[in-house]
Amino acid sequence: MQEIHSLLEGFVVALSFKNVGLMLLGISLGVIIGVLPGLGGANGVAILLPLTFSMAQQPGGTTSAIILLSCIYWGALFGGAITSILFNIPGEPWSVATTFDGYPLAQKGRAGAALTASFTSSFVGALVAVIVITFLSPVVANFALEFGPPEFFAVYLLTFCAFVGMSKEAPFKTLASMMLGFALASVGTDPVTGTLRLTFHTQVLLSGFDFLVAVIGLFGIGEILLTMEEGLAFKGASAKINLKVVLETWKELPRYWLTSLRSSAVGCLMGIVPGGATPASFMSYGVARRFSRNGSKFGTGVVEGVVAPETAAHAAGTSALLPMITLGVPGSPTAAVLLGGLLIWGLQPGPLLFVEQKDFVWGLIASMYLGNIAGLLVVLTCVPLFAAILRVPFSVIAPIIIVVCAIGAYTVNNTMFDVWMMVVFGVAGYAFKKLSYPLAPLVLALVLGHSAEASFRQAMLVSQGHLGVFFSNGLVGTMTGLALALLAWPLVSWAIAKVRAGRAFG
């Protein structure tokens, strides 16, 4: 089989001494980032991205760089579980469902079991997703080689409409936030004609808004401000993991194989859709509760209630990379930052990557297998260390994180303007979070704005301005139709709810 062969070659690339070292470094940094308030997968990767610029210029360096950054992502995913279980503070939105049973378990003194279960099921979820990526992504990429501008625009449209259709937040808030991202993306030079747009004759706006700065501000500074508001009494359960607890938990885990399998499936399916990790974790928690024999005990601290959301969240977080590498459409903010990295290193994400950059793609996929194994070992052995970081008082951690964010924002383009913008985005992120405007669509629109606009305009050029081009063949028509259906979904569900309510009261 072609995939197995390519994968083995990928392992050769990923298993070099340097790359394994970067993997371990990335995982450890990632867990720390995931554990610290104000730093998460997306802005952690964004801050470290500029450090890879020089690394990526060496031969084979882009593979090392993506291995480092993707391992930070895996590490952050693992780290989110630590804060959810020990401190009842979900590090990432998709860790929220983990707190339902993880924190009660920790309070019962079974923190070790909860952590072991969550790490192991994260690993299982990620593994299933990587296997899916290994065999599905070449097929998708091959299929997408035939795509022209209308098809690509339809994919973008589908991505963005999925946000509106699947978001928990008010649809018009999602739309406003997304369009703000597109507007910010269009500041600067027009990608097609080179005309200056929305710069208002100022020097600083010539190069536009960098999404890395937006990510660092929105998620970093915004998060610090939010954390600050809640007051800072971190009261955590103590974490002791020893081999005995690990082995005992592992003995218990095979009982939940059906839950694992279901959650992996939910995760993989939802992960490919943008913004899917969070709904995936909630959905699989709900499904597990309904189908499990001891479903009524969910929420009081059962291991199964940790297994379900963690498996799904990691499966989704990992499979979010599938559309990124095959189509150039990231499924999550962190995947978006990784995509931005690829663009900066001079790689064009999309189907051609599988033809032109085989080493890179398969090195990355192989590193996903290895990175998750390394991740499991690192987190299982070092939990007390990472939990200790959380006990460092906030008045020490907060200013250091702000300094790190400022450095990260500065290094993107070496301008002070970006650091000021980071503060502005921080305040905006704080307000948006409090008013439940979703941030992920904003970031994705900011990253994809140029490509989406370019594909739209190219499609329109081909068709001489007829929107009918987006329905011109079965494939593009199906995608556009599906996108419009998703866009209309909030309206439909609102109407259904109205009718039902009307019946109930009438």
């Binding site: 369009m179 597109f182 507007a183 007051g231 020490v396 300094v403 400022a406 450095i407 305009r457 050029l461």
Partner: protein
């Protein structure tokens, strides 16, 4: 943190905040529309003009913000919770104001000196740490970052008079 009854008073209600954000976004949308129209948002001889795409983006911002504004105006007073309480706002400002001053200082003193000052004062004022502890963490942090960025990764960060004096530029 307990600030008493005064701290739990709303500094700004949710309704006010919703309205403010919606109006702000509408204004931004209007700016986008204005500039797109200036550039031409129609169909030119060689395809869509540069303002074509942003024009519709601006339009959707305005429309969806108008709907958000409409929803915000319908929030009934009894359901109007606090957007931020006075006590919370104080805590947020305690972080935000020094951050703004810090960023201002970076342009003048360079990032290392201002970071040392920022971390030290933050720990001293908010964490009530002893001066020597705060100073040790502040300076140590900057030295560590100097080694990581300037020496190890060779990424130049903004520097000020102190670095010039020490010949580290």
């Amino acid at each position: 943190m307990s600030e008493g009854r005064d701290g739990a008073r709303a500094a700004c209600t949710r309704k006010t905040a919703e309205i403010a954000v919606a109006l702000l976004l509408m204004a931004l949308g209007a700016i986008v529309i204005y500039d797109s129209l200036r550039l031409g948002a129609k169909w030119g001889s060689d395809g869509p003009q540069p303002g074509y795409f942003p024009f519709y983006v601006g339009l959707i911002i305005c429309i969806s913000s108008a709907l958000n504004l409409f929803n915000a105006l319908r929030i009934r007073p009894e359901k109007d919770k606090a957007f931020v309480e006075v006590g919370q706002l104080k805590l947020v400002l305690v972080v935000l104001v020094p951050t703004v001053i810090y960023v201002g200082l970076v342009g003048w003193l360079g990032i290392y000196v201002s970071s040392a000052i920022f971390v030290t004062l933050f720990m001293r004022r908010l964490g009530k740490y002893a001066w020597w502890k705060s100073l040790a963490v502040g300076v140590g942090n900057s030295v560590a970052f100097f080694l990581i960025f300037e020496v190890w990764f060779q990424v130049p960060l903004p520097k000020g008079p102190l670095e010039a004096l020490l010949g580290l530029d």
